[in-house]
């Protein structure tokens, strides 16, 4: 897989649609991110993120709808709470919390989507390969 | 003839904007210009610029206009404006901030105790004197 290796969880309604829009607009961005499409960003469990790091991901991106726009009303707030907590946990595990990022990308934000991916890929590249001792 | 622009944006008064924020922490952008401060202020009639307009000048960083006006010196710190503001803006505090900024910039004391007539002092409660000094002398 292309390094740095990034797993991205996109919610079906906003971020994945935003990624599709980036495609139909023929915008380009680094190929490091491999998507896993979920119904809602709130489907993403801490376990999934940890599993990704454990199996060699250098970064994990979670994309949801903007606050107030969640297709499921409150799902993205759950995500926000969870990610905040998870970042603390990552610190304890000696994983730089910057390796996990939560972004709100709407279905109309194809351009923003590419920017998010570019920026995140660069940041992870700077942080370098993740060496996990134990997880 | 050259076209005249009477308000040029953005204004350049960053130092005062920053100082104002430091002293008061008031978010002037919450103001939606309903005019309740000016309507309820007991001293509006004596001001060159009514309080809501001071808030407008603050939004546009037009401190020079506020310096020219007597508004913050007429203010009696009665806090009616703050109490009435539907957006919860502490306008009385903004006035205090302006007084402090202008005192720092200019004279430090707008008041001379020897100007007060002795006869007035006989009956005048001390709190009037002290209160007045506190607002007009840094």
């Amino acid at each position: 897989m292309i390094k740095p290796k990034i797993i991205a969880f996109y919610c079906k309604w906003c971020t994945s649609a935003g990624a599709d829009l980036a495609g139909t607009s023929r915008l380009t961005y680094p190929p490091n991110v491999i998507p896993v499409r979920v119904m809602c960003s709130s489907r993403v469990d801490a376990e999934h993120v940890l599993e990704a790091f454990k199996n060699g991901a250098d970064g994990v991106l979670i994309g949801g709808c903007h606050p107030g726009d969640c297709h499921y009303e409150t799902g993205n707030y759950q995500t926000l709470k969870r990610v905040t907590l998870l970042k603390k946990m990552l610190e304890d595990l000696n994983i730089d919390p910057r390796r996990l990022r939560l972004e709100w990308v709407s279905a109309a934000e194809g351009k923003r989507f590419t920017e998010v991916v570019k920026e995140f890929t660069e940041e992870i590249a700077k942080l370098g390969e993740l060496k996990v001792e134990k997880l | 003839m050259e076209p005249k622009v009477s308000i040029k944006l953005p204004a350049k008064d960053a130092a005062r904007v920053e100082r104002f924020a430091e002293i008061t922490g008031v978010n002037v952008f919450a103001c939606y210009q309903c005019g309740n401060c000016s309507a309820s202020c007991p001293a509006t009639e004596f001001m060159d610029v009514p309080p809501h307009q001071v808030m407008r000048y603050l939004q546009l960083e037009m401190f020079d206009e506020i310096v020219k006006a007597n508004t913050c010196w007429i203010c009696a710190a009665c806090i009616t404006c703050t109490a009435k503001c539907p957006r919860g803006i502490d306008i009385a505090k903004a006035m205090e901030g302006l007084r402090q900024i202008f005192l720092e910039e200019q004279e430090f004391a707008r008041y001379n105790i020897f100007d007060i007539k002795k006869k007035v002092l006989e009956k005048l409660p001390q709190i009037a004197l002290v209160g007045n000094f506190r607002k007009n002398i840094l």
Partner: protein
């Protein structure tokens, strides 16, 4: 293990231009479970679909992965295709290698590598996909409408006219709601009663509508398609079978109490019909004020009734109705003037609210439409109107805009000027919001033709001096204080949800916003549905709005209900989050995160139960579940993790 076939689409050169299809095909061959791989120029074309169907049969496939465009485009198409070949459609998945791969990358090497990873992850998911069947549940084709104002009436009529039964519940003795109290309506100035009463009559005569006035919903159970509703019919003390509505009882009743319908400005009897055009046009006895019920004597109405319709023994009755959908049209009330200390706190008689002024303007009101002030009945020569009273004031009252006040205040001033041409009308405003057809023109007319004076600023104080109401305000446009000596002041008070509604909303477990208005399922795309499936919101219960908006919402809710009732079963996507009872400890964390109330704890079993019809499959519960008992169908933790592993595997 499943036998999976992978079909890679070139999409002309859309995919093949950047992704090396051959390499993808070669790589995919080695993935676990894959028994067949083929590529084709346009997989979605007829020959492409035929190819898939043929190969399913010849290769005995039981799982299919299509590597092509975004699933939003053709997931349905391909799932149809595979089911024609005899596979459960939920065993077909799409790998998006176009929008999220070939179109956004330029380097063929990298794009190909990424495409392979994407396909691999989808294969891993498909391996664990279950066969699923859409969930079906029967629908009771009857609707309950709560609230008989214009919104409730409109919704009830539409559902009834689509051929379905409606139970319409109204807590007052008559339907009509707030609109029945209005004088004339903006911007056309047609009389509210003239356009409303025909609809009220339609309700009464519609065979599909069961009208329950003087009634309240007291309990609700069940869920979408099958609610069980308990309704309390308050004792009217009049037998409506016998009563003809002749009104002799009302005439003879000796008790006089303030008439709520006229906002206390006139009197009614203890036995009364709310207003002349009431539907049903039959009286009820207000037991709180009836001499017989309070003191045990009188029964005059009984003696004068020619039909023996008075029934003092009648008791409250609770009936049960089964319905498939519920419409909440519980309406609004005005924030009370007594909350405004600086405007006299309700103590100044001639400082009234907008609805009270409506009654003064109404030709059927206490003054027969003449503008006469409450204190002494004099015609006020100067009237001040104040907008945004209690609205747009997060510091002291409510943060929101009440939406209708700009227009009705304009109307009030205009109508006042029509009635009292030599009078002066002043409107204190902060903004004038006239977003509606014909609204801006109406506002301009008030200024240009009727001479209404608009003053831009808030009023700080209203008090009485020398027999006049002194209104202290400000005009920010001139930068001057304004003092008006007025004879009457009309306050456009904030619109609030009906006070009784909160109890009902709690009963139904429908959520409300911070201000007590009902929350819609989606602010833009599902504006008339509540978060609870099968419960719809219309009119001011959802937020302040005018008559056309209320009617539109009612029409929308009615048509959604008609669509729902046009089928015998509710069909629901089977992608839901279930419960593995062996793992569930009944902790209830999932219950708390579910936005749809689809999960609840079964105390007996000590586990959580899922109402599959209500579940919208966000998966928040699955992520929250500490034991893994909550698993989303076809997106289980196992599937997600195997996808992650597939992607990252070297």
């Amino acid at each position: 293990m499943k036998r999976i076939g992978v079909f890679v689409c070139h999409c002309g050169i859309n995919i093949a231009g950047t992704v090396d299809i051959k390499r993808v095909v070669e790589a995919v061959k080695n993935f676990p479970g894959v028994v067949y791989v083929e590529d084709y120029k346009y997989m979605c074309s007829d020959p492409g679909q035929n190819l898939i169907r043929e190969k399913i049969k010849s290769e005995k496939l039981d799982g299919v992965v299509i590597a092509a465009c975004s699933p939003t485009l053709h997931e349905k198409t391909f799932r149809n295709t595979v089911s024609q070949a005899g596979i459960n459609p939920y065993n077909c998945e799409i790998a998006n290698i176009r929008e999220q791969c070939s179109w956004v990358h330029t380097n063929m090497e990298e794009a190909t590598e990424k495409a392979i990873r994407i396909v691999k992850s989808i294969v891993a998911k498909t391996l664990l996909d279950e066969s699923l069947v859409p969930i079906k549940s029967p629908v009771v084709k009857r609707a309950l409408v709560v609230g008989g104002g214009i919104a409730g009436i409109q919704a009830a009529l539409n559902i009834a006219n689509s051929g379905y039964e409606v139970v319409l519940v109204e807590k007052e003795p008559s339907i009509g709601g707030r609109m029945a109290q209005f004088s004339e309506t903006f911007p056309t100035l047609d009389c509210a009663q003239c356009i409303l009463t025909p609809k009220m009559v339609d309700v009464a005569s519609n065979e599909n509508i069961k009208l329950l006035t003087y009634s309240e919903v007291v309990d609700v159970s069940g869920s979408v398609g099958n609610f069980k509703v308990k309704i309390k019919k308050k004792a009217k003390s009049v037998d409506y079978e016998k009563c003809t509505g002749c009104g002799i009882c009302v005439e003879k009743c000796p008790v006089k109490v303030p008439n709520e319908f006229d906002r206390g400005m006139s009197e009614r009897k203890a036995i009364y019909t709310q207003f002349p055009q009431a539907v049903p046009n039959k009286p009820v006895i207000d037991r709180e004020n009836c001499t017989y019920f309070q003191k045990g004597k009188c029964r005059l109405c009984e003696r004068v009734c020619p039909f023996g319709a008075i029934d003092f023994e009648q008791e409250d009755e609770v009936i049960e109705e089964e319905v498939g959908a519920i419409v909440l049209a519980t309406g609004y009330e005005l924030y009370d003037v007594s909350n405004m200390g600086e405007y006299g706190g309700g103590e100044l008689e001639d400082v009234i609210d907008g609805l009270t002024f409506e009654r003064l303007l109404s030709s059927s009101g206490p003054t027969s439409g003449e503008v006469r002030r409450p204190s002494d009945g004099k015609v006020p020569k100067t009237v001040v109107f104040v907008k945004c009273v209690g609205s747009r004031d997060p510091e002291h009252h409510f943060p929101y805009c009440s939406k209708v006040c700009c227009m009705y205040t304009t109307k009030h001033a205009m109508l006042y000027k029509h009635r009292v041409p030599d009078g002066k009308a002043y409107i204190f405003y902060m903004d004038v919001r006239t977003a509606g057809k014909g609204y801006e023109e109406f506002y301009q007319r008030a200024q240009e033709e009727d001479g209404v004076i608009y003053l831009r600023g808030k009023v700080s104080k209203i008090y009485k001096s020398d027999g006049k109401l002194i209104v202290d305000g400000f005009d920010t446009l001139t930068g001057r204080k304004v003092q008006v000596e007025a004879d009457m002041v009309v306050l456009a008070m904030a619109i609030r949800p009906s006070s009784g509604a909160e109890k009902l909303f709690n009963l139904l477990k429908v959520s409300t916003d911070a201000n007590g208005f009902l929350t819609e399922a989606h602010p833009k795309l599902r504006p008339v549905e509540s978060l609870t499936a099968g419960i719809f919101l219309v009119g001011c219960a959802q937020g302040p709005k005018d008559i056309p908006d209320s009617v539109s919402q009612a029409n929308a809710a009615a048509s959604m209900i008609s669509v729902m009732f046009s089928q015998d079963y509710l069909i629901h996507e089977p992608i839901i989050t279930g419960v593995n009872e062996d793992l569930c400890s009944g902790c209830g964390i999932c219950v708390a995160v579910c936005p749809y109330d689809a999960r609840k704890i079964n105390r007996e079993k000590g586990t959580v139960e899922v109402n599959e019809i209500l579940c919208e499959a966000c998966g928040a519960c699955a992520a929250a579940c500490p034991s893994g008992a909550a698993q989303q169908k076809n997106l289980t933790d196992r599937q997600i993790i195997s996808m992650i592993k597939a992607i990252l595997e070297e």
